[in-house]
Symmetry: C2
Subunit: 424 residues, 2 copies
């Protein structure tokens, strides 16, 4: 069955995925003479960098997600379809989805990346990831439930309930560890006077020899210092080997007892069925050339976390899987699609590293710009400004800002709500 | 297993349910020398009167629910336990819950009321109720999904997807119908330019001869007029007989084709297992005397929607199941429990009707105070003020107020987000 979409004489560009790459691409394309169909399994764009604040009761989901239909309201050539993509049928130039087939002239795969459990089914079953708004909400519920559960046990049995282990010392793991540590200091003692929260532990496990391994030694060192001052236990050069929901065993055989393991240790690109196996590169990413064309195709592109570019001389192993790379590729691809449509020469993609940043807690962040590195209060302000600027929608910016101001002055993350279905 | 709660020499009052009655009771009790244990299946108080705004994408759940632990933070004698009550064992003065037994000196049943499907399993299975924040969120998801689904069909097949039938013309049904009608005018055409929304229908089915049957003829008439001007189809003297998810059959044999039936047609008190059958009155409510003492007991009370008082001369058939009655009973019972503890005489409960109100849409509401009835813009302002005043927490008041201002001026309910689990 064909998905019903208004007939148009314009060439049709189908975009799978409305993440950072997808929406920046569409944002540019909508000014041109193409019909755009955005397909996503959610009806909203998700602002991943702030998921950790949802998981720690600081922000509502609605503040950092944005409905696609609202985004595209004024663009009659842009159509949205809520659907899950099952397969690409490139021979017939069609995308097969759970609601039917969608034909394309040009296809852009912008499916991003999901969790990588490195093939360990136990970890997949028991660890809690945070790669979607749903997972972030579930994590919020679980974190709060651990304290409720702990109340039911004798003091000497409570420790595993109060031990939160985070696997992965990248920005997500670091930011989450810092926020949990601040909850322990400021919020939880007021909510749980019956628990001795000096028993609450936050452990950060990282395989590399330093946290924030993608940043400089200096920033890693600073972040580690911040975390340690907040009382986070850091275990470097350590990999999670297994987890049964109660006991974490590291590859070296060490043991941590914890009822909560949060998984921020690895991502795996969302390769799409139907593309030839030879386009699958390391990390499940799709090999593309310098125009983001999937190897062997003339009308199928991939951008963002899922794309692995062979052709940017400065990044021979592909670009970092960051919002910045996705956004830049989305913008460049929009230009190239228009160039193809109007028979003009294409522009090779060159990634421009705009810097990296991570926040650890109140007044504490590390920022690396191309020419400057800094840390502390000013870095924290920069981090907030950059994130506020990137959130979609004036209302969302305002709501997030007000929440931050509120939380900063009241020391009170106010969304400590366990909202879930009966059977969860 | 006994639920662990700090030992205290004070008499212990266990309160089942943190709705309007429960929290007003506790709010008073915490100033006295009793130990209070609040048991609820959620970790937050829910502000039911605004559920319909959550269901129609106008408010976030977090704006109208409030964590119990935050509420009781400063009261060392008040304890909260997240648990579902299974049974009352009055012989042993214990409440049995899914996390263990809780003993009491005094017990207050404040379990409120749930949905009444009048024994019809089909309706229970296919209709969508709105008596909890979860149900309201689910309704939000379903309403939005209907439009996404409709897109997949030919124009002549879309009507049942775009037909929203509401059973029950009380405040909930009326408010929901009005808001859906306004979404049809202001929000949905922008989101769904591909749908012809003149085909969207909103039908309100009410068994009584008028909507808002608990209010005066005059207010009913006004509300009906408002609804009709908004394009709501009203069917009075009509009862839903059956529903198979697609076809509603009324008791008189009429047929409405609609993929969505919203159930606001009846409530049924949440009687608690373990109380003697003779305490069960009409509507599943628990018979209490004028001190809210459950018939036959000296230390078990019931308040609010679940209580059916025999003894208020002005309300021989019991009080209306409204927030006001629950709040007044909670306040009066706090005084009486303290009177019992200190061997003082008890005060009979007398319900003071403070009035009733309902809103139908922008600038449209009906208000009945004891000495005055009015409708229109001023009534709408009063409605908003009274509701803002009743919402717990300064932040929530502020957030709800800002949302109302935003929605009023932008004509844009901004939370059109389908957030659900994969398997829903």
């Amino acid at each position: 069955m064909e998905v019903r979409i208004a007939h148009s004489n314009l060439p049709r560009v189908v975009v799978i995925g409305g993440g950072f790459g997808g929406i920046h691409l569409v944002n540019k394309l909508r000014k041109f003479d193409v019909q755009v169909v955005v397909v996503d399994q959610y009806n909203f764009h998700q602002f991943q960098p702030l998921f950790y604040q949802v998981a720690t009761s600081g922000l509502e989901p609605s503040s950092i997600i944005f409905p696609f239909r609202k985004m595209f309201q004024k663009n009659e050539h842009v159509h949205f379809r809520l659907a899950e993509v099952e397969k690409i049928d490139s021979a017939n130039k069609e995308v097969l989805t759970n609601i039917g087939k969608i034909s394309y002239d040009y296809l852009v795969v912008a499916t991003g990346a999901g969790n990588n459990f490195f093939g360990n089914e136990n970890i997949e079953k028991y660890a809690l990831p945070m790669k979607s708004i749903n997972e972030s909400l579930r994590l919020r519920n679980v974190i709060l439930e651990r304290f409720e559960e702990a109340l039911g046990y004798e003091e000497e049995e409570r420790d595993p309930f109060l031990h939160f282990v985070i696997a992965g010392g990248g920005p997500t793991g670091t930011e989450l560890a810092g926020t949990l540590a601040e909850m322990r200091s400021f919020v939880l003692p007021k909510d749980y006077p019956e628990l001795d929260l000096s028993h609450m532990r936050i452990s950060l496990i990282e395989g590399a020899p330093r946290v924030l391994a993608a940043m400089s030694e200096q920033s890693s060192q600073k972040a580690k210092e911040y975390l340690e001052n907040l009382g986070v236990e850091i275990h470097l050069n350590t990999y999670v080997g297994d987890y049964d929901g109660k006991i974490i065993t590291t590859r070296a055989g060490e043991i941590y007892e914890a009822h909560t393991l949060i998984w921020a240790a690895g991502i795996k690109a969302n390769f799409v069925d139907g593309l030839p196996e030879e386009t699958r590169g390391p990390g499940n990413r799709i090999w593309v050339n310098e125009y983001n064309l999937v190897k062997g195709f003339e009308n199928v592109f991939a951008i963002g976390d899922v794309a692995l570019m062979d052709g940017d001389p400065n990044y021979p192993k592909g670009h970092p899987q960051l919002a910045q790379a996705a956004i830049q590729q989305g913008n460049n691809l929009a230009k190239n699609i228009m160039a193809i449509v109007s028979n003009k020469p294409l522009t090779s993609f060159r990634y421009k590293n705009l810097g990296a940043m991570a926040t650890v807690g109140r007044n504490k962040a590390v920022v690396e710009l191309p020419r400057r590195k800094f840390a502390g209060f000013f870095a924290w302000l920069v981090w907030m400004l950059v994130h506020l600027r990137s959130i979609l929608g004036i209302k969302n910016k305002w709501v997030v800002f007000m929440n931050w101001v509120w939380n900063y002055f009241t020391y009170n993350l106010s969304l400590r709500l366990i909202i879930k279905r009966k059977d969860e």
